[in-house]
Symmetry: C2
Subunit: 173 residues, 2 copies
């Protein structure tokens, strides 16, 4: 029979690896997803070196992705008294994680799309040909929808956990 600790390690490694694969499908890179998985399941904050060793990756790679995760708000930097080294700890609250991701994806994906649509809309304003009209109508539909999505994202991202769940239950209970 296998020891519990060994089994745990195995399962955790599998989680980290799989989460990395998932990451690539989510449009974020493998390493970043792996680091996130690693830290979400580590009881203690980890240093860059520990992450490097655990995942067998270079310092540059570890550093870049740790800092990216911090900029997403998914990791926090913590320091220990008397030590200069930086340690990283993951946000564990799922609602908080979700909010951060929504916020960031809005900024990176929705807002730029909105800019494109609005500029296309502006440029074709007042066109009278059938083709012009049709194009503009389609831009308008898209713009309205994306603008709406943008607003929704903001609302969701600024909702506290309790409120969100309450709302969700009312809708989808």
């Amino acid at each position: 029979m296998k020891g519990e600790a060994a089994k745990l390690k195995e399962t955790r490694d599998r989680f980290v690896a799989q989460w990395g694969v998932m990451g690539t499908h989510w449009g974020i890179n493998r390493t970043m997803a792996q680091i996130h998985a690693l830290l979400m399941t580590n009881p203690e904050p980890m240093s860059t070196d520990e992450v490097m060793e655990e995942l067998r990756i270079s310092r540059g790679n570890a550093h870049t992705n740790l800092k990216d995760l911090v900029s997403w708000g998914l990791l926090r930097i913590v320091t220990r008294k008397g030590e200069r080294k930086e340690y990283f700890e993951a946000e564990l609250d799922v609602w908080e994680i979700f909010r951060r991701i929504v916020q960031e994806r809005k900024r990176r994906e929705i807002d730029p799309a909105l800019d494109v649509l609005q500029s296309c809309l502006a440029e074709t304003k007042g066109m009278k040909t059938a083709g012009g009209r049709a194009f503009q109508d389609q831009m308008k539909s898209l713009e309205e929808f994306v603008r709406f999505a943008s607003k929704m994202s903001d609302r969701v991202a600024s909702m506290p956990h309790g409120k969100a769940m309450q709302l969700a239950m009312k809708l989808f209970g």
Copy 2:
């Protein structure tokens, strides 16, 4: 002064190009996004050859991405009487587009994540060590949330336009 038609073509080209760039950030490839943009703004269905010519891409590339878009439910294949050639036309209704994307992303991104989490959860069931408990708690939170997201996606994807908007207005008006 520039003719309206010329201006329109220019704006549309820019839309197609930009939408392609956006696509790469959304985790779908440039060509696929460009074809989608092209067809959403084309009054008539287009053939593979027309798409190839307009975007200056190879037949293989055009073919693959057109079929992928069909599998996403974002394009329909239409045929003309007496012609063997296939033409493609885009779904234009934004709510419909949104539903299809939600559906597909759920299938590709949420469901596999759920599998991973559930299997990790199962494997660590009943562990008594502190580490095992902590790991399991985190898996459980994630699993619950992702399962919830899965359910939400299904509901949203099966909602008719009117119902969804009505709901949205009540929430975020």
